[in-house]
Amino acid sequence: MAHAATHDEHHDEHHEHLNFFQRWVMSTNHKDIGTLYLVFSLLMFFIGGSFAMVIRAELFKPGLQLVQPYFFNEMTTMHALVMIFGAVMPAFVGLGNWMIPMMVGAPDMALPRMNNLSFWILPFAFALMLSTLFLPGGGPAGGWTMYPPLSIQSASTAYVVFAIHLMGISSIMGAINIIATILNMRAPGMDLLKMPVFVWSWLITAFLLIAVMPVLAGAVTMLLTDKYFNTHFFDAAGGGDPVLFQHVFWFFGHPEVYIMILPAFGIISEIIPTFARKPIFGYKAMVFAIASIAFLSFIVWAHHMFAVGLPLGAEIFFMYATMLIAVPTGVKVFNWVATMWGGSMTFETPMLFAIAFVILFTIGGFSGLMLALVPADFQYHDTYFVVAHFHYVLVTGAIFAIMAATYYWIPKWTGHMYSEFWGKVHFWNSVVWVNVLFFPQHFLGLAGMPRRIPDYNVAFANFNMISSIGGFLFGASQLIFLGVLIHCVWFSKKKATDRVWEGARGLEWTLSSPPPHHSFTIAPVIHDEELAHGHVED
């Protein structure tokens, strides 16, 4: 295809003349900025992970051994904020930055300077937020949900609110850039319904981001004015209502959890057809399912609030709407399985992570369905059952998908193959220990252990110890990941081919490995049989 054409442009790369500062800090290149996002996300993953290690160490056995309860609360709060806003979201933006222009046949992102700005806001935002841990009064300790009145008892409210504003600005600019790129920069013939599912998932996610990040900004701004400017939005004594915050927060928060999973759906929908060597089953159904889930995400927010004493009618509405999400999500899982059926499968590391994603994300979906049933939720709510649920969808869901994507595309990015052996060692360690870590938490929750507690009754001791052991080993397993990445980028001698994977389809594989500085300077010609998801006639 356009491979030959782009190869000619190879000499045109001018970044070799740039020094380190110019190349990375002043970059307007979608690949370099994508790399910055991914490296930042990995750093945050380890910082957030170290907070999780503190949590699991304190919970290793009953009694307080390591930290004071307030510091424990800072750890749970920071762990969530760093992992959500620092690790998962930037990782997806990084993957989108790298892959979307290459997948739709564009030379770069539509708004390259804004791309630079939206990344470089993040280190400052997180420096602000993490610095609170070293300030008098400590970091935020009211949970990542920041429910007032508790959250404004904290000394760090202003820092956290400002950091969240920055993160929101960054996310919105990133989302605008992605929408502009997808809608304006596609190669001729790359119709919307020919785009890879990953691009579709990001297009929909970007709209969710633009819709809800301002809502979060509004919610936290009201916290700020309640604390410092004598407003009473959430203060019952002044005529406000603490529950109002929860409604506004979760109107952001529920779409937010889909912001963290829809791109994962896209990634899995790229990887499974590649290694099954068969077109994705039901391409249009997959796209429609993502759009349905995105729509439903706006009308289910109060299922996070079943125990706040909603009126009966509201509980019923939000229960039904929530249960409805199981239908498009089920369609996606069935379609992934149907893609494998009749294929010719091999099990390289990206495929292993993708298969683990399908199984473990589905388990997280099952517990999600159970949580949707209001009378049962009155038991599950705010117990470890919920902790188990959202770690299944976020760790074995979102993060496994990010790892799958990394193994899948890193040969393309670097031009070198990673070590398949160590990739598999990383996979098997991760998949075993993550289940040792999170599966027993279901039992703890069902037995009635509340979340966000630093210490517990001795009846909860055995499963907490198992969970902590799983946690330490899962954490340690991620050092293997780091090793595989370092080896692949700097030390691997094995060159990657342009196609990399035998079954890989889509425009990104027609470029050289590593790809040229500007992905497609001449628009590629689209051949239907070369589309990412295969040639689909329906």
Binding site: Q379, A447, A461
Partner: protein, 319 residues
């Protein structure tokens, strides 16, 4: 009567320890009838001890069963695919990517399953939300980090009994960082009560529909006793209502379930359910103790009246 209940508990506990891990887990999953409080190795919800608490328990079991069956089917198909359609076995990829009939089937079947689950859940929810016809009202107020209980009325008569309920001293001493004390040594009445015991339990009668009105004074808390089958947030400025009707006398333990600050993990809830006769005696003692010297400080003395007024307001809005 209560002593008998504890004896049974104690025997069950010792017997369980002899079983070994597998037996322990089996008991944890299926042997939960009388074990309302968390047990080591407990794998499932408690069926609870009230006229309502079997509803979330059954709903949980049905939903879990449905998920297990779907899981076996989906993951089973996946594993068959992974074994049959391997390149190493010479599998040749097929070309199809669409099948309308199959897609309609696997969209429709989940819808039917969801409707039946929704029907069960709605029925349970309607039962839970009906707080009418109560014979007793208790006002629960969450504070950082203790609970206050106001007995508002019982059998149609207003009451003026109220007290604070906070973590027992033994747990409190043990839970201090590096206290050197053993959490396993914290026991009350033969149960290991570390962090699940209080100085003044909420004493209530069995076979009585008790309405709880739940609020908070400072930040949001959540009143959660698993054996009763629900939790309800305690929110400043909001009065939530819930109810229970306990079948079995016993001591039922729970905890605050909404993050409420540094000692969130240290504000347990203990409900002591006694026979109606015993409750009448307990109530008489409380009232006797409360009336002559009027020991309660002015602020707390004013509170029951205020609570009654708030409840009346709530009733009239529900009215």
């Amino acid at each position: 009567m209560r002593a008998g209940g504890f004896g049974k508990h104690g025997i069950r506990f010792r017997a369980k320890q002899a079983f070994g891990v597998a037996g322990l887990m089996a008991l944890g999953l299926f042997g939960g009838t009388a074990q309302a409080n968390p047990q080591p190795g407990q794998l499932n919800l408690t069926p609870g001890v009230t006229t309502y608490s079997h509803i979330p328990y059954m709903l949980n079991n049905v939903a879990l069963g449905v998920c297990v069956v779907i899981g076996i089917l989906v993951f089973g198909a996946m594993f068959i695919a992974m074994f049959r359609f391997r390149k190493s076995r010479g599998a040749v990829p097929e070309k199809w990517s669409h099948n309308t009939t199959v897609e309609i089937i696997w969209t429709a079947i989940p819808v039917v399953i969801l409707i039946s689950l929704a029907w069960l859940a709605t029925d349970g929810l309607r039962k839970f939300s009906d707080t009418t016809g109560s014979q007793m009202t208790v006002k629960v107020t969450g504070y950082q980090w203790k609970w206050r209980y106001d007995y508002v009325d019982y059998l149609g008569k207003p009451l003026h009994v109220d007290f604070m309920s906070k973590l027992d001293d033994q747990s409190n001493a043990t839970r201090q960082l590096d206290s050197g004390l053993d959490p396993y040594a914290v026991k009350a009445d033969g149960e290991q009560t570390y962090l699940l015991n209080v100085d003044h339990p909420l004493v209530v009668p069995i076979h009585t529909k008790i309405r709880f009105v739940i609020t908070a004074d400072d930040v949001i808390h959540s009143w959660f006793v698993p054996a009763l089958g629900w939790k309800m947030d305690a929110i400043p400025g909001v009065i939530n209502a819930a109810w229970t009707n306990i079948n079995t006398p016993g001591i039922y333990r729970g905890q605050c379930a909404e993050l409420c600050g540094q000692d969130h993990g240290f504000m347990p809830i203990v409900v002591k359910a006694v026979s109606q006769d015993d409750f009448a005696k307990w109530l008489a003692d409380q009232q006797k103790a409360a009336t002559p010297p009027a020991p309660a400080p002015a602020s707390t003395a004013a509170a029951p009246a205020q609570a009654t007024a708030q409840v009346a307001a709530k009733q009239s809005t529900q009215g």
